[in-house]
């Protein structure tokens, strides 16, 4: 028997597919079968391909809320890859990583429905440093001005929540960087000392007496 696709080579691969109770057979040569590699096991894995999250997405995408969502996001498109918001809702797939920023204003309700939460709480990217990024919005109320930061009041520092203490230290690091950028090394050194005092206070806990000034030269400014 010849291959029913090329009608030329001897058929050596026999594929039986049962779809909606209908049985169909394909007789192919090895060459044609290799071009259709997926066909024989496509049916087997169909369910896996349309796995639950995507199924969930489809039922969401056709819901009235999502239809309203699409209308609300009309005109939004990703400047990097060109994907528009309606197409994203239809396919359930982003076009590139920039799409997250482009659609950010409309993502939270969607993520809220398909995820546990709308913010990341996993481990940070390897090599990522908090200090080079803007201060998170949670802490600004407690952020000291620079003069206050440098003349550290241990009691005030201890009264802060741990994440506010971290923000304080981040602010100092940022001030240190700024000082180095304008070659104000004296100020950079004061920042450095303040950072070391903060770290010591954090390590000792609230009951420890305020430590002595950190010895010079440990973390020399460049």
């Amino acid at each position: 028997m010849n291959c029913e696709r090329c009608q030329r080579n001897e058929a050596s691969v026999f594929i039986t597919q049962i779809e909606n109770g209908k049985r169909s057979e394909m007789h192919l040569c090895a060459e044609c079968a290799s071009k259709l590699t997926i066909a024989p096991f496509k049916a087997i894995w169909q369910q896996l391909a349309a796995n639950a999250p995507l199924g969930l997405w489809k039922s969401l995408a056709t819901s009235p809320q999502m239809q309203g969502e699409a209308a609300g996001g009309a005109g939004l498109a990703c400047p990097a890859c060109g994907l528009d918001y309606a197409e994203f809702l239809r396919s359930g797939k982003f076009g590139c990583s920039e799409c997250y920023a482009a659609f950010q204003s409309r993502l939270d309700p969607i993520l809220g429905r398909i995820q546990r939460g709308t913010r990341y709480v996993g481990r940070p990217l390897e090599g990522w440093e908090a200090s080079i990024l803007p201060t998170p919005p949670a802490a600004p109320a407690a952020l000291p001005d620079t003069a206050e930061t440098l003349d550290l009041d241990p009691a005030r520092f201890h009264s802060l929540a741990p994440e506010q203490q971290d923000a304080w230290i981040r602010a100092l690091r940022s001030a240190q960087k700024d000082a180095v950028a304008v070659e104000d090394y004296e100020r950079a050194a004061r920042c450095r000392d303040a950072i070391q005092r903060c770290l010591a206070l954090q390590a000792d806990g609230p009951d420890a007496p305020a430590g002595p000034d950190a010895p010079d030269g440990k973390e020399a400014a460049p």
Binding site: W45, A52, K93, F94, R119, Y120
Partner: protein, 345 residues
């Protein structure tokens, strides 16, 4: 050692644990929207980063493999069937013991998979995470503080972590409880699928339970939640076993021995029948009714009798009747070997 050649913790009821981490490079569109040139360049960058990492990978060019060899990779759970369907260039980096497999160019640029026998989620995740950290330190990865690791599908964003556990649940299957299990776990954010992914029929009484949620939960919490769900399902299965098999020893022994009889003598056997009989045999191992057999051996047989792996070992394409014949040969030989290894009682 490959997960399917051994039996891990809770190996009597749990076949394997699998972790998948999704990562993407900045500055390239996601899988489906890559141009062929971008796809090739992307693959080279990732291969290069992995080559110089000091980890030892087999760099497998899927386009050079026969359809049978490709299918066998799917059956061994080393690649997803979707990887073979991508319009863009794809690749596979395979750890020497097959416990780590990195798919390149799937829906997400990088998908790191880690597999372990038995219930072993945290070590499996740690192995995948080590690979992920190495890649993250060498390539610009799409990540931000707000959403974490950015993925093509919003159902993977955040940790990009999908963890799944394959369990053998003959009693719950026989008592018709799998559908209820699926419904209940789905409310809790977990997916239940069959061995081949079908929802309709649970082949060989095997089900996979995996997490649906990836954002708003940390990796360790996610694994611990899944671990708890699996433990609870184990307890359900153990209770169901008392109900299904406990008071009727001779019937269960009969079922196990019949399975050994057919597997040891059949000349033609379909994959579906074989998986069901192997499930009975596995039940025998779990209940101590099948001396000479082990869960690890059954794991390995389950892979060996799948179409692609059968054809790969035969070295040529086989049609369905030929496969049934080869499958029966493999099973008869395995049963005979176990008989020889068991001292006559």
């Amino acid at each position: 050692m490959s997960w399917y050649l051994e039996a891990g913790p809770e190996g009597d009821l749990i076949v394997s644990s699998r972790i998948r981490l999704a990562r993407n490079l900045k500055d390239y569109p996601f899988g489906a929207r890559l141009t062929p040139e971008q796809g090739t360049e992307l693959l080279e960058r990732i291969r290069g980063a992995c080559r110089t990492s000091g980890d030892d990978y087999l760099d497998i060019h899927l386009e050079d493999l026969s359809p049978q060899e490709q299918l066998s990779l799917v059956e061994r759970r080393l690649i997803s069937p979707e990887l073979l369907e991508q319009p863009n260039p794809v690749g596979l980096l395979l750890g020497r013991d097959e416990s780590i497999a990195i798919m390149l160019g799937e829906e997400d640029h990088i998908r790191i998979q880690s597999m372990r026998a038995g219930l072993d989620l945290v070590p499996a995740w740690e192995a995948a995470d080590t690979v992920a950290r190495t890649i993250e330190s060498r390539l610009p990865i799409a990540w931000n503080e707000r959403y974490g690791f950015l993925t093509a599908c919003p159902t993977n964003v955040g940790t990009g972590l999908r963890a799944s556990v394959m369990m053998h649940l003959p009693a719950l299957t026989r008592l018709g409880q799998i559908e209820a299990l699926t419904r209940n776990l789905s409310k809790l954010g977990f997916t239940v699928r069959g061995y081949h992914g079908e929802h309709s029929r649970t082949q060989g009484c095997l089900v996979q339970i995996s997490n649906q949620l990836t954002l708003g939960i940390s990796e360790r919490d996610l694994l611990s939640d899944l671990g708890q769900i699996v433990e609870q399902t184990l307890q359900l299965e153990r209770r169901a076993r008392e109900q299904a098999f406990g008071s009727d020893d001779i019937r269960t022994a009969d079922r196990v021995q019949r399975a050994i009889g057919i597997l040891g003598h059949a000349r033609l056997i379909t994959s579906e029948e074989a998986l069901d009989l192997l499930s009975d045999l596995r039940l025998g191992v779990e209940l101590g009714l099948a001396p000479g057999f082990s869960a690890a051996q059954i794991n390995s047989l389950m892979i060996q009798i799948e179409p692609g792996t059968l054809q790969k070992s035969a070295g040529r394409p086989l049609d369905a009747p030929e496969r049934d014949c080869h499958r029966a040969d493999v099973l008869r030989e395995a049963i005979a070997a176990a008989d020889r290894a068991t001292p006559a009682s």
